[in-house]
């Protein structure tokens, strides 16, 4: 346990050794996936208000958090693999795919704190700060396990991200739909995610679950 905490603390401080560039050390071989999964869960908790807005029931709420974490993990794996492909094919980095996945997983360490995003008022700036922190971690992580320059590492990440996005919109569409369907199934309601629709839903005049006593009446002139 102490070793795991050391790795996380190192990653938070961008220490290259933390990203385990050498061979896997015993129980730490799967640490990358573990951190990414927990980061996913933490993020799901941080963003849980979307589940509340969609009026998800308590048990389904808990299941949804787990499903969201798993979906996050699978998304992470696709993205890490794309990044590895780009680093190898475009920038000629020679590193086993598992090592890069592990490094990027560990780089998610700041996102373990993403549950703090649920804090009122301070949550949003905290999330922004964490994203920045994580992004730097990604670059440092890639550099630590490959021999790429800063710009090449950055390039691999961005192109890898773009590739993942392109995949999601094209060949990966059915998989994405499956993921969405899974989440809706877990939540028990079709989840509304995008900001504008959420806002409309909130402002639709329905005053929560409490007894609605007054509907606004239309005072504007009609013709």
């Amino acid at each position: 346990m102490g070793e795991v905490l050391d790795v996380i603390a190192g990653a938070l401080r961008f220490q290259a050794a933390a990203y385990l560039s050498s061979e896997a050390i015993g129980p730490l071989s799967r640490i990358g996936l573990g951190i990414a999964l927990l980061a996913g869960l933490s993020q799901a908790v941080g963003q849980a208000f979307i589940l509340f807005v969609n009026q998800v029931r308590p048990l389904r709420f808990a299941i949804s958090l787990v499903v969201e974490a798993l979906l996050f993990l699978s998304g992470f794996l696709v993205w890490a693999t794309s990044t590895w492909l780009v680093a190898w094919l475009v920038f000629g980095a020679r590193v086993p795919v598992l090592v890069l996945i592990r490094a990027l997983g560990i780089a998610h360490a700041p996102q373990l704190l993403a549950f703090l995003g649920a804090l009122p008022y301070l949550g949003v700036p905290i999330l922004t700060l964490l994203s920045l922190w994580t992004a730097i971690g990604f670059v440092v992580g890639v550099i630590a396990v490959t021999d790429l320059s800063v710009w090449a590492a950055f390039g691999s990440l961005v192109v890898g991200w773009w590739l993942t996005n392109a995949l999601q919109r094209t060949a990966g569409q059915p998989v994405m739909n499956l993921g969405r369907a899974l989440l809706d199934r877990a939540a028990g309601v079709p989840l509304i995610n995008d900001g504008q629709r959420l806002e409309r839903m909130l402002r639709s005049g329905q005053l929560g679950s409490g007894p609605t006593t007054l509907k606004p009446f239309d005072r504007s002139p009609r013709r």
């Binding site: 009122p120 929560g208 609605t212 013709r223």
Partner: protein
């Protein structure tokens, strides 16, 4: 020094981050912690535990609101009694004038406010009149109105803390309640949780108001009185309350701590009372970026710029006890306690008229200035006198003055003081009759009027607004016309048919005779003068300053020459406007080129055998006698677009007939026949030259646009084919007292004090296009698109007069004269289409076969509509208000700057008045319409101080 403090805070934060990132920082921190722990041991541990607990409670703070929204708690958390209660019972003898809802500070744990809060409420209630009700007992930090001390699993704990705190106000543990409630304030200010929490609070407040007798839909104003954190809760709930209650809501904040991202603009007003020693209130401007000056477009900063916020200083007063806003013991230098001062201020705000309402214009506006011209002021005794010569004919059958009824005698109509009657009704002259405007369309246009702060600000800035209607309920379009100005001084013609309804027999028998009632079906026409003549001016024999120096030789229709009886005329010197520009002048009038063909003059008898010329229009603009005829689409368009406005010369006028079809000149002229109805497009330009108007300071002249309707008819004084023209002015509130609505050419253009003919270049384009201007016989009903359009414009102008209930209409890119006039055009066309779609298809086919010419016209109209829509509404998605009319008009640009601009661009060709006119004319010409283009540039006497400026348009 909040700015310096912010900077320090930021540096500290950056330093900490940098420290954490330094190599070996962990070791350093550990060392520091060990050192501290050795010295302060237990305290450090306690603080660490406290911080951890704080973090945990912050994490769970939004849970109550979120769970409420998601329905996790069912209705268990809200027993039926969990609504606020009245501070004291309300008497039934008079209705409640205003509801006040008290939201206590962050110290509140139970349904009771803190002792000092209870004291404050009791004394305030004693001070306020009986028709102001106070609702109290709301727990502002719970969406389910659940106090901390009851029905919660930590209830026992909170009760203990509450008791402890009341016994020992200085006990540190008492701060736990404050901390818990501060976290809820943060929830209310959070951009994600806020909308949910604030809706919940709005619901609690609404429930409490209703439970205590608030009439749903009554529109009775509500004041949210928030102390400390209650300020944020009030402002958060405000927009939701406003939407649900459809009533004005204002906020009084007592040392309120609130974010700048609340929709303060939705408030009627925010009164923010702050003491100089208030350290808690200062958290707001420090912690919430929306309150920083760095964010000029935050709701807070915009509300301040728009005068929505009054900051009221309480002097050397702190926040909480001792020495706080509600402290009954601490005394001010004038001997009053802090509490007394707060009660004085709050009750003054609640009972007295707002300072802004008492303000008139800071400087006399044009409307007030023009009152000095007694010959142009309405004087029913003088104006109704006998006409001095048979060469004058009455302007219309029914002419009179509109009088706004008293609030206590309202019935939906207005009084009409009769100045001129048709034959047979002369016994009614001088009487005050009830006038009703009967049109089902207008019933839905009645609206409550509550002046916005912006409207009151505009009054102070010199705008003429319907102040007399402020706080009236369901004001009708006729009332808004009569009450548009501070005085009953609008002369109107009643459009035919005017029905004279005998008075109810009961009234006559009861001796409360009011005479008959008048009923009309169209809007009264604002006009100038009661009689009209066609004259040629002769140079004055006496100096112009003499009382009645002018002579007008009238026109003899029998000979076609100016050789009729001579009239003694007064041409009063108009009062200069606030920019020093004379609205009209009579210098060199007799020798001006327009005088050769004569002037129509309108006015009133002067009581001494002379005639006061209040308005004048050149004969060349009042008849159908084009100097040129231009045929063919391209040439016609070129004239309208370029030549008509090319280098306008002051004192010149022209009348040119253009047609989009390749006709010969006689063919083009022969089409225009008496009885033809015409669509009018009016545009005016700017006043330039030595006395250039201030509106042209930017160098751009946008001008003004209006639609109107004209009829070709034989004019009795000249025997010629004349033009009877009415404008439908969609006109925002202004310092001249021009009222949006149906305006006669006499008033709007020809009036020598109030009109534009003498100072501005104008174009009146009269379009003849039978598919648009003729009527249709649909299954026995006569349907006229032009008539529908007039009604739509009547509705639009009625909304403009009241600013949709806010008392003011402002000009912006999305809402202005040309945008909203064209919006009315679309509404009319859509109405006809809807009606045709509802017809039985077989009946429609039969109808088309029976009257192929009519069917052909209809097809042309539909083609025209499609093309007009493409031209005027290229981005339909940006203008939902044009597709679904009924949105609020003419909000100021600041309200939603980007949205307003985008909307304006959705119909960008209607953005500029002349461009709108050009666009419509171009489409019409392409469809084969013909048009009489009348142009005039600053007509009347010599006026070398000013020059005409053509309005801006864009070429394409």
């Amino acid at each position: 020094m909040p700015r310096r403090r912010r900077l320090l805070l930021l540096l500290l934060l950056l330093g900490l981050v940098a420290l954490a990132l330094l190599p070996e920082a962990g070791l350093l921190l550990q060392l520091a912690y060990t050192a501290l722990h050795q010295s302060f041991g237990l305290a450090i541990d306690l603080i660490s535990v406290g911080l951890l607990l704080l973090l945990v409670s912050a994490f769970f703070a939004p849970l109550e609101a979120l769970g409420w929204w998601a329905g996790w708690f069912g209705d268990e958390l809200r027993p039926p009694s969990s609504v606020g209660a009245l501070a004291s019972p309300v008497g039934t003898e008079q209705p409640v004038r205003r509801w006040v809802v008290y939201l206590d500070g962050i110290g509140q744990a139970s349904m009771q406010a803190l002792p000092e809060g209870e004291d404050f409420l009791r004394q305030l209630d004693e001070r306020l009149p009986a028709d102001i009700a106070i609702v109290r007992g709301i727990m502002p930090y719970s969406v389910v109105n659940q106090p901390l001390t009851e029905g919660r699993w930590l209830g026992q704990f909170w009760r203990w803390v509450d008791r402890l705190r009341i016994r020992h106000p200085q006990a540190l543990l008492g701060a736990v309640i404050n901390l818990r409630n501060i976290l809820v304030v943060a929830v209310s200010a959070d951009q994600r949780y806020g909308p949910i929490f604030n809706q919940g609070m709005a619901q609690v407040i609404t429930d409490s108001l209703l439970a205590n007798g608030y009439g749903p839909g009554s529109g009775t104003p509500v004041t949210l009185l928030g102390f400390s954190g209650g300020g944020q809760i009030s402002l958060g709930a405000l927009p939701h309350l406003r939407r649900v209650l459809q009533a004005p809501v204002e906020v009084i904040s007592l040392g309120g701590v609130f974010a700048g991202s609340n929709q303060i603009l939705a408030a009627e007003h925010l009164f923010h009372l702050v003491g100089e020693r208030d350290r808690v209130e200062r958290l707001g401007p420090l912690a919430f970026p929306g309150r920083w000056r760095l964010q000029p477009f935050s709701y807070w900063n915009r509300a301040r710029r728009r005068g929505k916020v009054s900051l009221i200083s309480l002097g050397p007063v702190g926040h909480e006890l001792p020495g706080g806003i509600l402290d009954a013991k601490a005394l001010l230098s004038d001997g009053r306690s802090h509490l007394r001062q707060t009660i004085d201020l709050v009750s003054a705000i609640l009972t007295e008229l707002k300072p802004a309402e008492l303000r008139g214009p800071r400087e006399p506006n044009n409307y007030l200035r023009y009152q000095a011209n007694s010959w142009h002021r309405l004087d029913p005794n003088r104006d109704g006198g006998p006409l001095p010569s048979p060469a004058l004919r009455p302007l219309d059958a029914w002419i009179g003055r509109l009088i706004l009824p008293l609030a206590s005698e309202r019935w939906g109509g207005v009084w009409f003081e009769v100045i001129h009657t048709p034959a047979g009704w002369s016994q009614l002259q001088g009487q005050r009759l009830r006038l009703d405007w009967h049109d089902p369309l207008l019933a839905s246009l009645a609206m409550d009027v509550h002046f916005s702060d912006e409207a009151l600000q505009s009054v102070a800035d010199g705008g003429v607004h319907p102040l007399r209607l402020n706080h009236w309920r369901q004001v009708t379009p006729l009332e808004s016309l009569a009450g548009a100005r501070p005085q009953d001084d609008q002369l109107v013609r009643l459009p035919a048919p005017v029905r004279v309804l005998p008075e109810a027999p009961g009234r006559a028998a009861a001796g409360t005779s009011e005479g008959p009632r008048l009923q009309i079906h169209d809007e009264p026409l604002q006009t100038t003068g009661t009689a009209v003549a066609l004259v040629r001016f002769e140079a004055p024999a006496a100096p112009e300053s003499a009382a009645c120096p002018w002579t007008g030789v009238t026109f003899a229709a029998s000979t076609g020459r100016f050789e009729g009886p001579r009239l003694r005329l007064r041409l009063p010197v108009p009062v200069l406007n606030s920019e020093g520009i004379a609205p009209a002048t009579s210098r060199g009038l007799a020798t001006a080129p327009t005088n050769s063909s004569g002037w129509y003059v309108s006015g009133v008898p002067d009581g001494t055998g002379g005639f006061v010329v209040q308005a004048m229009l050149p004969r060349s603009l009042q008849r159908f006698a084009p100097e040129r005829v231009i045929c063919g689409q391209r040439r016609a368009w070129d004239y309208v677009k370029r030549q008509a406005w090319h280098q306008p010369q002051a004192g010149s006028a022209s009348a040119v007939l253009v047609t989009g079809r390749p006709l010969t000149e006689p063919e083009a002229l022969a089409e225009w026949q008496p009885g033809d109805r015409l669509l009018v497009l009016h545009v005016f330009g700017g006043i330039g030259g030595q006395q250039r108007e201030a509106a042209l300071a930017s160098g751009l002249c946008t001008g003004h646009f209006a639609y109107g309707v004209a009829t070709l008819e034989t004019e009795p004084l000249s025997g010629e084919l004349g033009l009877a023209l009415t404008y439908r002015q969609v006109y925002a509130h202004n310092p001249d007292g021009i009222i949006a609505g149906a305006q006669d050419r006499w008033r709007y253009l020809g009036d020598r004090q109030w009109g534009w003919l003498g100072t501005r270049p104008i174009a009146d384009i009269l379009v003849r296009f039978p598919p648009l201007t003729a009527s249709y016989d649909v299954q026995g009903h006569e349907r006229s698109l032009l008539r529908d359009f007039e009604r739509q414009l009547a509705a639009m102008t009625a909304r403009y007069r009241l600013g949709d209930g806010t008392g003011a209409t402002f000009v912006g890119p999305a809402n202005n004269c040309s945008q909203d006039s064209n919006q009315a055009l679309f509404a009319a066309i859509q109405g006809l289409q809807r009606e045709l779609r509802q017809l039985d298809q077989r009946a429609l086919r039969d109808w088309q076969q029976q009257d192929p010419a009519q069917a052909q016209r209809l097809r042309q109209l539909l083609r025209l509509e499609r093309e007009l829509r493409r031209a005027l509404l290229p981005f339909a998605g940006l203008r939902p208000d044009w597709q679904r009319p009924g949105e609020v008009l003419g909000t100021s640009l600041e309200d939603r700057p980007l949205d307003n601009l985008l909307r304006g661009l959705g119909s960008w060709r209607a953005l500029l008045p002349r461009m709108a006119s050009d666009t419509v004319i171009k489409v019409l010409l392409r469809h084969g319409a013909s048009a009489l283009v009348l142009r005039a540039n600053q007509l009347g006497g010599d006026h070398p101080e000013i020059e005409p400026v053509a309005p801006l348009t864009l070429g394409w």
